[in-house]
Structure formats: C-alpha cells, structure tokens
C-alpha cells in the first residue's frame, strides 16, 4: 500500500506547459519545486522506499512511498501550513514550494493521494502565511553538567552553600544539601574541582545557578570533561544516551575499578528531577547489575526514588 505526492505545473505565463518544450522560467520554477519535494520526502523516508516519476501531461513530478511514511510527512506538512511545525527540513522545503505556487505567472497543483482520496494542498498553501518553523517554546534556561575549579573559602548557612573565590570580588555560590556541606567542609581553604549541575540562564546578565554534585579527584577531571563535552554536543537524546552507555563501557574496559568509580559519580550527577526521564532511566539500566552492591545501594535507591517521582509527574 503506497501513497503519493504529486506536483503539476500546468501553465506558465498563460501558456500551457509541456515537458517537451519548456521556457527557461518554467523549467527553473519546476526544478526548484521538484528538488524541494525530493528533499521533503528524503528528510523522513529511506531513499530505497521512495519512487519518483516525472511525467508528461503538463509537467508533473510524483513521489510514492509506503502509506505510513507518506502519512507522517503529510501530517507534518499540514502542521507546517498551520504554522505549527517545528520540523526544520520540512518547513524549509515546503516554503520553497509555496513561493513557486504563490507566483501568479505559474499555475501549480499540489496533491496528496491516499487510496481513493485526493487532497489538494495547493490551495491551502497559497492561502497560508509564509511557512516558517515554529520555534519551540524554550525555557529561558537549561540544565547542564559542568566542572568548575576554585578556591573554597566559605561554607555553611541556613540554606547551605559554599563559595569559590576568584579574587577581585569575583566569586560564585554553589548550593548544596546539609549532608553535602558536611562532606565538602573537609576541603575548606583548598583548591578543588567540583562537578556541578548548572542552571544556565539565557537572559543577559543573569548569573548561572549551581547545584553541588561531587568533589572530583583531580585525575578524573580530564576524562569527565571529555565526556561532558561530547554528551552535550548532541541534541538527539538517543545519541546522548548512547554516549553515556559507551562511556561507562569504556571505563569498565580499562578496569573494573575505573568503571565503578565513574559510575558511582554518574549516579549522583544524574540524580536530579531536571533531567529527562530517559536519562535517569538509562543510569538505572546501566547500574542494575550492581544494585545490591554495598557502595552502590544507597546511591542507586536515591536515583530510583527520583525516577519514580518524575514518572508520576510526566
């Protein structure tokens, strides 16, 4: 069962269009539309599933693919016409088609065919506002893991926190739990490397917020930094999680000791409700074989609690 998208250029400058003899303007426009149609379908569907044809009888280009793939493209185009699509590829190429369809010198038809139904897209595309990608309503901040070093010169308070002092009145404040504070106090008046969850504000002049996770042994810092950089380089969550799996695998491959050390820190680092549920779940999956191991049990139980609370609220 396959569905079809069809674009027909029937007239240019009030003259009927034939594939056998096209004006340069008509060919230009037709080629733009055809390559945009190709790009739209290839953005979602594997090339081997697609079948293109160019036919006489005006100038017509059609593309066929299995129904369920075609349907998801049609639905996304429909959203794009309503200005609601956040798909960069589809909106970009649909805009190119729209520009050509809107030109009064050309008469275009754009159809979606499923079973016996034909839906005309050209009319709604002509009437729609310029197709633009809908910006995701982004939070004005994002949470990221970060490693910062500094001179620890103050700790305590009713809402516990500690300070890194950089001199010249430049310092940062890091929030922590009472329990953390009792541990961190051992590093007072020393240079330390801290793994932090940072709330990075995108608002100008608004200072980032920091939540304490782990004081790191110096020897672990370069490896952790490399992991964090590659983790945040990717936007797609599956790719990120694959990096997380690979990172732990690599540490265990080097030595069991190294694997356990990093995994322990990760269980703490990812224990926060501001992570995606899949990030927390992935660490639970990776650490599952060690759930009864004494030095892991409490850390993993705490992470599991965060997971369960988050699950109820998604």
């Amino acid at each position: 069962m396959s569905n079809k998208l069809e674009i027909i250029l029937s007239q240019a400058n009030n003259q009927p269009v034939k594939l056998a003899s096209m004006s340069s303007d008509a060919l230009d426009s037709f080629l733009k539309v055809v390559s945009a149609l190709k790009a739209i379908t290839e953005s979602t569907i594997n090339k081997e599933e697609l079948c293109f044809s160019i036919q006489e009888g005006s100038a017509m280009c059609a593309v066929e693919a299995p129904a369920q793939f075609m349907n998801s493209i049609y639905e996304e185009m429909d959203l794009a016409i309503q200005g609601k699509s956040d798909d960069k590829e589809i909106t970009k190429y649909l805009r190119i088609i729209q520009e050509q369809i809107k030109k009064e010198s050309f008469a275009y038809q754009f159809k979606y065919k499923e079973n016996a139904n034909t839906i005309n897209i050209d009319k709604s595309l002509r009437n729609a506002k310029k197709i633009t990608v809908k910006r995701k309503t982004r939070e004005p901040y994002q949470y990221k893991l970060k490693i910062l070093s500094g001179y620890l010169n103050q700790i305590g308070g009713q809402n516990p926190n500690y300070h890194f002092d950089y001199g010249l009145k430049d310092s940062i404040t890091i929030d922590c739990s009472k329990h953390d504070a009792m541990n961190v106090i051992n590093y007072l008046y020393q240079d330390v490397q801290a793994l932090l969850l940072t709330k990075e504000w995108k608002i100008k002049d608004k200072k980032d917020d920091y939540i304490h996770k782990v004081i790191l042994d110096k020897s672990l810092v370069p490896i952790f930094k490399e992991f964090i950089t590659s983790y945040y380089k990717h936007e797609d969550l599956v790719e990120k999680l694959t990096i997380l799996h690979d990172f732990v695998d690599e540490q265990f491959r080097l030595s069991n000791d190294s694997g356990f050390k990093f995994l322990k820190h990760l269980l703490i680092a990812f224990n926060d409700k501001n992570y995606h549920l899949s990030e927390i779940k992935t660490l639970l999956i990776i650490s599952k074989p060690f759930k009864e191991k004494t030095e892991f049990k409490k850390l993993r139980d705490d992470l599991f609690l965060t997971y369960q609370n988050k699950k109820v609220n998604v």
Binding site: F69, S72, V238, L244, H245, D249, H276, K288, P289, F290
Partner: protein, 211 residues
C-alpha cells in the same frame, strides 16, 4: 477496543511507543520483534537468527503489534539506547547475546565471557525486557515445565539449521505469541496463567484476519 494493530497501518498515534510485534503465517506467529515509534518514525528491532546481528531499522516486515504500557513514551529513547548497546556488544557469530544486564556483579562485561546463551528471536526480546525493567519481566519459573509444546522451537531449529539439543538448555520455551500477549499486562513479573487467559481471544483474532 482490541489493541493488536497491523504495524504498517499504525500511523494515527501521536506519542512515541514500544510495542511487541509478531510476524504471522496464517494464524501462527513465527517471529517476534520490537516495533517502536520514535520521532514520527516507526522502527523494528529484532534478532533474525544465528549468524546475523541484531537489526535496528525502519519498519519493513508485515508485523502485528501490541503496545506495552510498561514503557512510557518519555522512556522510548532509553529503550532504544539499550537496544543499541546490546547490538554493539553482541557477538552474533556464536549466537550469543548478553541478557540485557551487561555486567556481572564484579563489573566484568558479560559479552567477554564464554558462557554464551544461544539465542532465539524471542530470547532476544525477553532479555531486553529483563534488562530494561527493575523487576523480572516474566515469571520465568512458570515456563520451566515440559508441558509447553516445543513445536515452535523445532521449527526454529529446522529453519536455522541448529541442533535442537544445544538450544534446549537455554530456551525458556516462551513462544512469539506468548511474548505478544505479554503486552496486555503491566504488573511485573507477568505470570503464565495470565497469558493463557488471553490466548483464545488472540488466536481467534488471527484466525479471523487470516481467512
């Protein structure tokens, strides 16, 4: 509503999902796979048989599936990442895959050990579910009796030219059909008697559509 869907025509569902899929011949289920919707695309993840690796690809087969409620839409990325990790560490040459739990308690990667488990398509699916969930996915002890028909296993060994006695030791005698039906239940571990309750209804469904 009866919730088994032909995967090819599953196009109206908006949220991501993990489903348990079957390929059928007439009314007989002969292969199992995960059918996954993620970011508008539908994928199949399965183990075709010895000598071949685990495949993660766009939906190709004519599967029937039941969505499992044991995995939330927000958890689909974690599930796919687990499958990719199993794929990476698999050793298909010997038909060995670790059971979704990648390490022993001492941190040794299970793929490095030679206590391989000879795997079937169902074995792969069950093991992924076992590795994914905190609890056991199935009440495995329910399947240890000899009462289960081994017809499926005989067929499987014939097709893949395997020695049935080698496989028997690892095979838990869970059929692709039972795996599909497990998708109707959320309370883990799922008991065999629950699955048996649903079996006639599902059999009738496949008989109706195969006529």
């Amino acid at each position: 509503m009866f919730e088994i869907t032909r995967s090819r025509i599953e196009s109206d569902r908006i949220s991501d999902f993990v489903a348990l899929g079957n390929l059928v011949n007439g009314a007989v289920s002969y292969h199992s796979a995960f059918i996954i919707k993620y970011n508008r695309m539908i994928y199949e993840i399965h183990y075709p048989g010895p000598g071949e690796g685990i495949e993660i690809e766009n939906l190709k087969g004519d599967y029937f599936h039941k969505i499992t409620d044991t995995i939330l839409p927000e958890e689909v990325p974690a599930f796919i990442a687990l499958c990719k990790n199993i794929q990476k560490n698999a050793n298909p040459e010997y038909g060995f895959f670790y059971s979704g739990e990648s390490y022993d308690v001492n941190g040794n990667h299970l793929s490095n050990q030679d206590i391989g488990e000879v795997m079937t398509c169902v074995g792969f699916c069950i093991n992924v579910m076992k590795g994914y969930h905190e609890e056991d996915y199935l009440e495995f002890t329910d399947w240890q009796s000899e009462s289960q028909s081994t017809k499926y296993l005989e067929e499987y060994c014939k097709i893949h030219n395997l020695d049935i006695d080698k496989i028997r030791a690892f095979h838990r005698r869970i059929t692709p059909r039972e795996f599909l039906i497990s998708g109707f239940y959320n309370n883990l571990p799922i008991e065999k008697k629950e699955i048996e309750k649903k079996e006639p209804e599902v059999q009738e469904y496949f008989e109706t559509i195969s006529n």
